[in-house]
Subunit: 466 residues, 4 copies
C-alpha cells in the first residue's frame, strides 16, 4: 500500500463555503474548517492520516469556523494571519512553510478582504519547485474577487491592498497554478462568482471580470462603488471567530419532535416559529406568526431575520429534514433550537388549531390585475441590482433583507402580492407581512421568471412609481 | 466467534408488510420476501449466513413477492402451499421440516385466507421440543385475523377453514408461542390490527377481538358480514405471484429528473402525472391534470387509481424522495416510471406554465358555511365504517377508492369541499375532481379530526341526507 | 400517518449486552443504554419520537452505562431501583407506572442479582390489561438466570431473593409474556444462555435449565455452587455506574494513525501495545512486548488484562477497524487510547524494526510431539468447566484470565505450546508468555476443536498430571 | 435553488483508474466509467441531473469498462474514437461538441497509446472561449505519458503519434488548462506517475519528466526503449471492451459463505483458492494449494495468475471484506466467484483439516544466513528496474508476474526465501511456490525496505550471480 496524496473539497451547502483537506501519507492539513468539523478528521482517517495543521485564511464573517473544536479532536495546530489579534491559535507570517510528506504549504499574506488575510501556496516538491496550487480564501474567487466593504473608513486603502495582493502576489505565481478559493457561486462573499468551482490563475487572468481592471486606480474605484449586503448576523460571526467562543458541538446537535401542545407552549414562552417547508406548502397552510424560510434558503436568509436570544421551534416537511435544518442553523451560530412540530403541519391541523393560507398568484393573473387597475400593492423584494434590470409596472421595491425595518412603507389597508425572481424570496416576505399583521397577502409563485417566460410588460427602474 | 441465532423483521413501509429473516450459524431462511429483495441476502451476509430456504405463506394479493429474484441471487429454494398450482417453486406439505442449525421450521397448513395458506412453526431443538414461535402469514395477526372475502362463492367454507386453522391448529401450539404475522397496522389485509407488532398466542387468545367468537358458527357469520376493500391492483398482484412473472429488479430501479419541457412532452405522449407532495403543497399549486397522492399514502392508494399500461411521471417534494417513491410503486408492480419533474414544482412555476390551486378550508369555516347554508357539496371520502361513527350534516359520502366510478353523483355546477379523517385522503379526492373537470374544489385540511377537536356538530348516518 | 408502536433491540456486540428502545407515537423509553448512546436518540428520532425515560435494571458491573449522557442529550429522566444509593437519577419503586402513549411500563422489584434489581413490565392498554412483555435485566435470561455471586457474605440470601423474584414475581406474569433480558449468549453474566435471544416466560418455565430447580433450597444450593469469573475491570464499572462519573463521549471518540517512530515513542513513554489482529497474523509477526487480543475478543478479555492508568496503542488489521476497536474499549471504560500503528504491521516491518513470531502447531503434530515425549509444556488456558470435559494428556491447566498471576507455574526453560478450545484464547496466552520473557512459544491453532475432529487421545481430569 | 456545475472524480482503487462525472444543471456526462457503474447515475441524481453522454477515451486494456450497462440504466449515448471498430456505441470525431448547460465537451483526437485515443476538451462558455480543462485518457498523466507498447510492429509510428498528440495538440491548449487523466499512481498504464492526481498543462510542461524530451526523435527513441508489463488478462479486457460483451452487473454481485465441507467440495470440483488475507496471516496458516494475494494487491496481480475458466473460492480476513474482494475481481472480468470460507481460516482450523505455514524471515536473519553461507535460494521477485538499483548478494531474480512460467529456474531441493520491496509481493511468490510443490518456503517480511533501513550489504546487478 503506497502512501498517497489527497485533496478533498468539503462544502457547506447554501453558504457556498469551500474548505479543503489536503495531505500526503499520514499527515494532513485543513483550510478553513466549518463548524461541524468531525468530517475532516473522519476523512483524514479514511486516508490513514491525521490532521496536523489548520489554516484560517482570514477571520470569517459569514459562518462559524470550526478550528478550535477540530484542534481539540485531533491535536492539530491552528494558524491565522498575524495582523489581527485572535484569542486562540498561532500567527503565521509571510513565507512560513509547513510540510505534509512531499507537499509544502507556504504562507502568502494577501490582505484586502481583511487586513490579516492569508493565501496558502501549495508545492509538491517530489515534482518541482514551482507552486501547483493556491488556497486564496476570500481574495480571489472563480469569476470574482473578494469584497472590500468591511472597513468603510479605509475603503480605498483596503481596495488597494487587494489589488496588490491579486496583481503582485497571486497572479505572478503562474498561469499553471490551480485556484482553490473559499467560496463558490451563491455566497454572500461575492456577487458574480462562477458556478464552476475549479479554475487556474491563468484562466482567471483571462476571464475573471473583476481582474479586467488592471489599472490600480480603476480597480479601486470599481471596488468602492460596489454594494454588498451585510446581514446583521455578521457581527456575531466576527465575534465568535475572533474569540473562538462558539460552543463546541461534540457530535452533531440533535433536535426532537414536539406535539402540538408542547409546540404551542414553547411559542407562548417566547419561541420563534421557523417554517422551512416549500413555498407551495407554506402557502397552503401555515401557523399564524410563523417566519417562513424554505429549507435551502436558510443559509442565505436566516441571518437576516433570526435573533440569537430566542428559542427557535421549527415546522419541517418531515423529521428527516431536521438534521439538515439544524446543521444550517448551527453554521450561523444559532444554538437555541428547541424542537420541531411532529408530522409536518398535520398534527397542528388535526388538533383543530388555526392556520392561515397565502394564496399563490400566477404571472398572467398578476398582469391581469395590474391591467384592471385592481387596488393592491405589488411588493418586489429583489435586490436593487435585479430591479434595475426591469420590473413590473407599479411595483414597490424593498429588498427582502430590509423589509422588517421598512414595513411602514407598505400600506396595511389593501392586499399585498409579494414578488421576487422566482417566488422563493417572495414567500419569506409574505410570511413577514402576515406575522406583522397584514391580513391579505398573496405570493407570486414563479414571479419574474414566469413573467419573462410568458412575456409580461416589463418597465425599467425610473419608468414607474416603485 | 461463536455462531449465533438471528431473527430480523424486514418491513415494507406503507404496506405494513412484515417479512422475516431467520437463521442459525451459516444458514438462513426468509418468510415472504418483498420485491426489492437484495436486503435479505445482505442482512444474511451480515450474519455470515446464506439463505437456503424461502417460504411463501400464501399467494399474496397486495404486493409483488420477491421470491424468484431472491432465489436467483442466493440459490435458495422456494416453498409454497401445495393447494395452488404455482408456476415456480416447490410444494411443501403439512409436517415437512427444514433445518437451520439448531432451528427447525415445520410446515403447518392453515387455510382460510386462501386455500393454500401455510404457517411455519419454529423450534429451537437446542432448548426443547415445543415450538417457540410461529409465522402465521395472513391467518392470524396481532389484534385481528385474516380476511376471507376472496372466494365469495365459497364464503362460508373458507371462513370455516380459517376458524379451524386458528382454533384447532394455531392456538393449540401453546400460550408461550411468539407470533410472527405477515402484516401490521395499516395493512389492507385487516381492519383492526394492533399498532403493536409483537405478541404471543396466549396474549392473542385473551385479547384479540377476532378470537372472541369461539363458536364456529358465530365466527363464520361474523367473517361473512365483514366488508373489505379490493383495490383493482389486487388482480395484477395475484397474477404476478402465481406466475412469478414480475420483472426482476436486479438493483433498485432508478428514475431521473426531467426539465419542464421534457416533462410536458411525456405528458403529451400519454404519461400520467403523480404528485406525491404534501396536501398543503399540492393545495398551494399543482399541475393541471395531476393525480395527487402524498408520498406515504402511495402504498395504500396508488393501487386504486394508477393504470399498469401508462407511463407515470412524478412531482416530488425533492429528488431525495425519488428512491422512496419508486420503491413504493415497484412493490405494487408499477414499473413504467418515466421520470420526475426537476426541482419540485419550481421549474414548472418559473417556466410560466399554468398551475392550479386547491384552497384549504378550516373546520370552523366549514361549519360556518354549512350553517350559512352556502351552496356547495361537502364530499366525505372516508370508509363506510368511519362515516357510520358520525359525519358533518349534509355531507355526501363516496369512498375514496370508488370515487372515479361515481363522479356522476357529484354535482359539477357548484363548489366541492373534500373531507376525510384528517385531510390526507381528501386531497387525493380533490385532485381527482380537478382532473375530472370540477372547477371549484377546496380541501378540508384537518377534516374530521379538527371537527372533533373544536366540537363541530356531528350527525349519525341516517340522520342526514348524506 | 398513524402514530405507531416500536420496539428495537440495540446490541453491544461482544458484551452480548441487549438494550431496548420502546415507544408509541412521539414518546419513547430506553432500558439499560450502552455508553455510546446517541444511537438511541437517533433511532427514536427515526420513529418521530423523543426519549422521555431511561431505566437501569440494576447497577451493571460488566460495562459502562450511558444513562447520564443520554439524559443530557434528550432531557429524559433516569430511574433505578431504590435499594442502592446512586449519585444520579431518580429512584423508582414497586408498582410505579410510566406511560408512552398506549404503552405502560410498570416497575417490578426483582432483587437477587443485586439488591436493587428491577424488572420493567410492559402493558399495551389499547389491547388488554395483562402484560405483553417484561424487561428482566439480569434476573432472567433465555436459558439461564442471573449470577448471585457478587455478595459472597450474603450468598444464600441473594440466591433466595432471586428465587423469589423468579418464581413469585416474574413467572406468575403469565406464560404468554415475552421476555426481554439484558444479555444474550456470550455474556460474562451467565454461563449457559441460549444463542436464541427471543423467548417467553412460558417457554422458559418449560425449558430453562436454571428454572428446573423449583425447590427453593435446591435452587439456592445450586446457585451457591456456581463459579463465575470476576474480571478485575468489574470494580471500575461498578464505580462508574454508581457515581455516573465516566466521561461523556459526545460523539464517538476517534483515534489516529501513528507512524513507526511515533508509535515507538509512545511505547517508550509507557504505552501498552494491544495487537487486535487475527491469531494467524499475530503468529506470523508481532511487535515484541505486545499483548495480542483478536478484535472480537476484546469485550470478553480486555477487562482481564488492560490497566486504566496507561496509554494504549493498537496494532490493527487495517485502519477501518479502529472505530470498532475504540468502541469495544470505551464500553469497558478504557479512554486512554493513544493511536494505532499505520498500515497494520507493514510500517513496522519495512522500517527494519524487530518482530517476533509465534509458530502455529497443528493438532496432529501436537499429538506426535506428545507421543514422542518431546520436552515442552502444553499450556491449556480454557475454563475449568471445559477442562473437566477432557484434555490432552500432560496438559498444564491455568485459566487464561488468571495467567498473568500464575506465570511462575510455567517452566521458562522449555518450549510452551498454548492451547484452548479453538486457538483464539491460546494466542492471547501466547502473547502474554512472550511479553513475560518466554522465548519459545507456539500456538495450537485449532486446539481442542481440531483434536476432537481428528480423534486425538483425550483424558479426563485426574487421569493426568495436569 | 440555482442549477450548478459539478465535477467528481470516481476512482477504482488499486487499478488507480480515474473516471469523471461532469455536468451542469440537469445534464451530465461520464468519462471512462468503471464496470460497477450505478455510482455515476446515483451521483448524477444527487446533483439533480441525468447522464446524457458517456465518453471512452480509448479501448481500455486494464479493466472492464461499464459504458454499456450505464447506457442501459440512464439512456445515455456512448462515444468512442472512430479509428477502431467498436461493436457498440457511436464514433466521435475531431472537433465534435457536446453541450451540458454552459459546459461544452469538445473531442480532440490524440492517438499514440492507441490509434483511436481521444481527449475531451472542456469549455465553460459562460466564462470564456478558451478551454478550462482536458480529459486526456492514457495520453498524458500527472508525471508521465501513455504507454506505446501495444503495437510492437508499429512501435515508432505510435510513439511518434503520441509525441504529436502531446506537443501539437494537448500542450498548446494552454498552461492554464487543468489536466484530468485516466490513471494515477500505481496504475499499470505508466511507471512514474505522480502520487498527486491534480495538475495543469503548464505544470506538466515544466515538470513532467516524460515531456522533457522535446525532440521528436529523442522522444520516440525513449518510448521504444521502455519496458512495460502486459499481464495475460489484458487480452480478455481488450476483447470485452471492443465487443461490449462483459455481462452487465445490475446491482453489485454478491458472494456467500461456505462452511469447511462446502468449501472443500468446491475445491475438489476444480475451484481455485484465493487467499486475500495479510502476508502475516497467510504466513501464520494457509490452506494447502492456495494462491495468496493480499486484498489490496488483487487489482495489480490477480490478472497475472487467475484463469477465467475456473471457479474461485476465497479466504478472507472476515466476511466484511467480501464486497471489496468481489468488486476488485469483477473489474478485471472475473465473474466466477463461488463463495468464501466462513470465519476466515477459523472454520478450517477447528475442523482439524491441514494447514501449512510460511515462516517470516527478518532482514537481519537473512543477512546472517547469507553470511553464514547457508544453503538456500533467495528469490527476488521485484521488477527488473528495481533490481537494477541494487539487491542482496546471491539473490536469484525472477519477476513475480513471470514466476509461474519460470519455476524450473528455482531449485526444489533446498529452502527458498522469497523477497521483494516490502514482503507483499514476496508472499504471493511464496504461495505460488508452495502450491507448486516447494516444501520449505519462507517469506522476507520487510524485504528490501527493511534491508535498506538496517543497512544490509547491497550489490549492484552484475556484481552477483543472480
Amino acid at each position: 500500500m503506497p502512501s498517497s496524496m489527497f485533496l478533498e473539497i468539503i462544502r457547506s451547502e447554501g453558504l457556498a463555503h469551500l474548505s479543503y483537506l489536503i495531505g500526503h501519507g499520514d499527515k494532513a492539513a485543513v483550510i478553513d474548517p466549518r463548524r461541524d468539523c468531525r468530517i475532516y478528521a473522519q476523512k483524514a482517517l479514511g486516508h490513514g492520516a491525521r490532521i496536523k495543521y489548520i489554516f484560517e485564511t482570514h477571520r470569517n464573517e459569514d459562518y462559524v469556523i470550526g478550528s478550535k473544536e477540530l484542534s481539540e479532536l485531533t491535536g492539530a495546530k491552528i494558524y491565522h494571519g498575524k495582523h489581527l489579534e485572535f484569542q486562540y491559535g498561532l500567527p503565521a507570517g509571510e513565507g512560513e512553510e509547513f510540510e505534509l510528506g512531499d507537499l509544502v504549504l507556504k504562507v502568502l499574506e494577501t490582505p484586502g478582504h481583511t487586513f490579516e488575510s492569508l493565501s496558502i501556496v501549495l508545492f509538491d516538491r517530489s515534482s518541482g519547485d514551482e507552486p501547483i496550487g493556491v488556497f486564496t480564501g476570500d481574495a480571489l474567487f472563480v469569476g470574482d474577487v473578494g469584497r472590500t466593504d468591511f472597513f468603510p473608513d479605509r475603503a480605498e486603502e483596503v481596495a488597494g491592498l487587494l489589488y496588490d495582493s491579486l496583481f503582485s502576489k497571486l497572479l505572478p505565481l503562474g498561469d499553471h497554478v490551480i485556484l482553490f478559493p473559499a467560496h463558490g457561486a451563491g455566497s454572500v462573499c461575492g456577487e458574480s462568482m462562477s458556478e464552476r468551482e475549479f479554475s487556474t490563475l491563468g484562466y482567471e487572468k483571462r476571464f475573471n471580470p473583476a481582474l479586467r481592471k488592471t489599472d490600480r486606480d480603476a480597480f479601486i474605484k470599481h471596488k468602492i462603488s460596489e454594494h454588498h449586503d451585510q446581514p446583521p448576523y455578521f457581527r456575531q460571526m466576527e465575534k465568535y471567530n475572533l474569540e473562538g467562543t462558539a460552543a463546541p458541538l461534540r457530535g452533531t446537535p440533535m433536535t426532537f419532535p414536539l406535539d402540538a401542545d408542547e409546540f404551542e407552549a414553547k411559542v407562548k414562552q417566547g419561541a420563534l416559529i421557523l417554517d422551512t417547508r416549500s413555498p407551495e406548502a407554506i402557502g397552503g397552510a401555515l401557523i399564524p406568526g410563523s417566519l417562513g424560510i424554505p429549507l435551502e434558503m436558510i443559509p442565505s436568509f436566516a441571518g437576516w431575520f433570526l435573533p440569537y436570544d430566542r428559542d427557535i421551534v421549527m415546522v419541517l416537511h418531515d423529521f428527516g429534514e431536521s438534521e439538515k435544518a439544524v446543521r444550517f442553523l448551527l453554521r450561523l451560530g444559532y444554538d437555541r433550537i428547541a424542537g420541531f412540530l411532529e408530522e409536518g403541519l398535520f398534527a397542528w391541523e388535526t388538533s383543530g388549531r388555526n392556520y392561515e393560507t397565502i394564496p399563490s398568484v400566477h404571472a398572467k393573473d398578476l398582469v391581469g390585475r395590474i391591467e384592471a387597475k385592481e387596488e393592491f400593492t405589488l411588493l418586489d423584494v429583489r435586490k436593487t441590482s435585479e430591479v434595475r434590470r426591469g420590473k413590473l409596472p407599479g411595483a414597490v421595491h424593498i429588498y427582502l433583507g430590509e423589509l422588517p425595518g421598512k414595513l411602514d412603507r407598505v400600506p396595511k389597508d389593501r392586499p399585498v402580492v409579494t414578488f421576487c425572481g422566482s417566488g422563493m424570496r417572495a414567500i419569506i416576505a409574505a410570511t413577514i407581512l402576515k406575522k406583522s399583521g397584514f391580513d391579505k397577502v398573496e405570493n407570486a409563485l414563479g414571479s419574474m421568471a414566469a413573467c419573462s417566460a410568458i412575456g409580461c410588460p416589463i418597465v425599467q427602474e425610473g419608468n414607474s412609481a416603485g
